[in-house]
């Protein structure tokens, strides 16, 4: 990853073609009279098709950063440029649109909707994209097949193992063909063997061109990524 002359103060290298770029991003929470700087000036740039792991001790600002990257939150100051668009000052509706278009989420606790079937869960992004039921059912079937759950389309999440549920979640994250997949401790609730299959799946997706950013505290999981970003006290500690 070549350093760029336009790199703002910070520790991360940046590229003009970065898919994700944070420029001196700060996030401050006010707890009564006290201010908590969850992010205290972070500048990073992730290239398209890169695979990143965000690491760091508890309270270092990992989740805050992922929420910002996921457009679920807005920075207190600084800029966030996603796919060339400054999203840091967008309103709620616009951010929803950005999430729907560019992003896919994978969560530690899978976060499937219990009353919906595997197919319906995978179809969810397509519903909000306004796809016709016929088309979205076909795409859901394709994606389920891709995560090797083609035979489970009619099942409910509760009828699946943890690993299977996470694979459904990945299929759902892929439904809108996002450029960036964000995963918060995707293997946190899985045994190590299952965790490995999930990481393999993410690595394959990365090889097919998706930018993948995961948060983890397990070095073994982080080792699947091409780059590791270590956070400490709301700042980027180092990158390796």
């Amino acid at each position: 990853m070549p350093p760029s002359p336009a790199t703002p103060p910070g520790t991360a290298p940046a590229a003009t073609a970065a898919i994700v770029r944070l420029e001196d991003v700060r996030k401050t929470y006010r707890m009564g009279s006290e201010e908590v700087h969850a992010l205290a000036g972070v500048s990073v740039a992730f290239e398209p098709g890169s695979f990143w792991a965000i690491m760091g001790p508890s309270g270092s600002g990992k989740s805050t950063m992922l929420n910002l990257l996921g457009c679920l939150d807005r920075p207190t100051s600084g800029r966030y440029i996603l796919a060339g668009e400054d999203v840091s000052r967008m309103d709620d509706d616009a951010l929803s649109g950005i999430r729907l278009t560019y992003l896919g989420f994978v969560f530690q606790s899978f976060n499937l909707i219990a009353q919906l079937t595997v197919r319906e869960n995978i179809e969810l992004p397509l519903f909000y994209l306004g796809w016709e039921p016929h088309d979205s059912a076909r795409r859901a079937a394709e994606l389920a097949h891709r995560v090797e759950l083609g035979a489970r389309l009619g099942h409910r999440p509760a009828e699946l193992s943890g690993g299977q549920q996470q694979r459904v979640a990945i299929a759902r994250a892929l439904a809108n063909d996002p450029q960036v997949i964000l995963a918060d401790e995707p293997t946190g609730n899985l045994d190590s063997a299952t965790g490995k299959t999930i990481m393999e799946l993410l690595r394959d997706l990365n090889r097919q061109g998706k930018t993948i950013i995961i948060v983890t505290h397990e070095p073994e999981i982080a080792s699947w990524a091409d780059h590791r970003l270590h956070m400490k006290d709301g700042l980027v500690d180092r990158i390796d």
């Binding site: 679920l72 939150d73 709620d92 509706d93 999430r99 989420f105 976060n111 519903f127 909000y128």
Partner: protein, 427 residues
């Protein structure tokens, strides 16, 4: 306004399906939740049906009296009803009253006088008490009863003071066993009358306190004949005392040329009668006024019902809101997931709002079914006429949807306002 969902039929339809599906996941809870609306709508439609049925019947009876008519009865004044052994009371409408009304009261197009004389009628061995109605051919235009056989009274019968009679179906049946009744002779009082026609008898009854002109067992004869044969004195014997009364006309039906002139004509008639009668030995009834009164009563009834409906739907709506608020809390995670995936706030509002509307309008539909069935049962078992007004059904459905919107909007807004980050962490 950004929170309000844009209307897109296709997407709305899919949200309706989603709502139905979600509600079917908790069938019992959904049913219990909509019960308030079910009973609210059901009871109001049922009550409205019974009320409308009753008042329609009353209004129909009054209308049968003729909304362009004014009916004047002779009434025996109180002071006449003393306990003298033999007495003669003279009261009521006179032939002159009839002529004066016909000739001097504005807007009057016709009058139909009637003498009502209770008499014994016999054919061979059969006999019965019936009411002889001495009247003019105009009677049969006022009281529109189907002619079953023969003809009605005619002007020529009047001129000739003919001994002819038109019987009601009921009178004919009781007096004449044979099918061939036309041309038969019936003895009424001390004379024989030839039966020239039969008309259908209908339960007249009283409408708004006024006796309908016809009764089930009537024998109609020309008024000229009645005057000649029976005179103006009616003799009634009861409990050893003989009661005699001299009444020229028992009833006078005045037809006015147009509905809007009825009140004016009635006022003029009352004024005139007061001038020529020293006592109140008559009663003027205006069916139109009674009709208006009945309509006003129904309006009041409807307002009361409307208030009850309002209160019960308010309670039903609050019940729905309560459950929807619980549902929003219960489904916080789901809301977080949908928002993270890219659902706009307005789409979350839409989802929950439509779910609430599905709930309330399903309740409304069940309520309508209940409300339409109950009157049928009442009609079947109690024999009361009921009418389910179409407007009540349409209005109920509309109000059920409105209840969903009104009581769904707050829970839906609550759902949409959830911070997705917080919602995703919720468990």
């Amino acid at each position: 306004m950004a929170l309000l969902p844009q209307v897109n039929l296709n997407r709305t339809l899919r949200l309706v399906k989603l709502g139905v599906k979600t509600l079917l996941l908790h069938k019992l809870r959904s049913l219990l939740t909509m019960l308030g609306v079910v009973f609210g709508v059901g009871s109001v439609i049922a009550m409205l049906a019974v009320g409308t049925g009753a008042s329609r019947e009353a209004q129909e009876q009054i209308r049968r009296l003729g909304s362009q008519n004014i009916i004047i009865h002779s009434v025996q004044p109180q002071q006449d009803q003393t306990t003298e052994r033999v007495r003669m009371s003279i009261y009521g409408l006179t032939y002159d009253d009839d002529a004066r009304i016909r000739e001097t009261i504005p807007f009057v197009s016709r009058t139909v006088p009637a003498k009502l004389i209770p008499q014994e009628a016999r054919v061979g061995g059969r006999q019965m008490e019936l009411r002889v109605v001495g009247t003019t051919p105009g009677w049969f235009e006022l009281v529109e009863r189907e002619l079953l056989a023969g003809r009605r009274l005619q002007e020529s019968d009047m001129v000739r003071s003919a001994n002819v009679t038109v019987l009601t179906e009921r009178s004919a049946r009781r007096l004449l066993a044979t099918e061939q009744v036309l041309g038969e002779s019936v003895r009424i009082g001390s004379n024989y009358y030839q039966v020239v026609g039969i008309i259908r008898s209908e339960t007249g009854g009283t409408a708004g306190g006024v006796q309908t002109p016809d009764q089930e067992v009537d024998a109609y004869i020309p008024i000229t004949t009645a005057r000649e044969r029976f005179g103006d004195i009616v003799v009634r014997r009861r409990e050893g005392s003989t009661e005699r009364s001299l009444v020229e006309l028992h009833q006078l039906v005045v037809e006015v040329d147009a509905i809007e002139n009825v009140q004016a004509a009635a006022t003029a008639i009352e004024h005139m009668l007061r001038r020529f009668h020293s006592r109140e030995d008559y009663r003027v009834s205006v069916p139109l006024a009674l009709l208006r009164q009945a309509e006003a009563t129904q309006r009041t009834f409807n307002i009361v019902l409307g208030s009850i409906a309002g209160i019960s739907l308010l309670v039903g709506g609050i019940g729905i809101m309560n459950i929807m608020l619980a549902s929003v809390t219960e489904r916080t995670r789901e809301i977080g997931i949908r928002r993270a995936i890219g659902a706009k706030r307005s789409q979350i509002v839409g989802q929950f709002l439509i779910e609430t509307i599905v709930l309330s309008s399903t309740g409304g539909l069940i309520g309508i079914a209940v409300g339409v069935t109950i009157p049928q049962v009442i009609e079947y078992f109690a024999g009361m006429p009921t009418v389910v007004p179409l407007y009540a059904v349409v209005l109920s459905l509309g109000i059920s949807v409105a209840v969903g919107v009104i009581f769904g909007i707050y829970p839906a807004m609550r759902a949409a306002k959830l911070d997705p980050i917080v919602a995703l962490r919720y468990d």
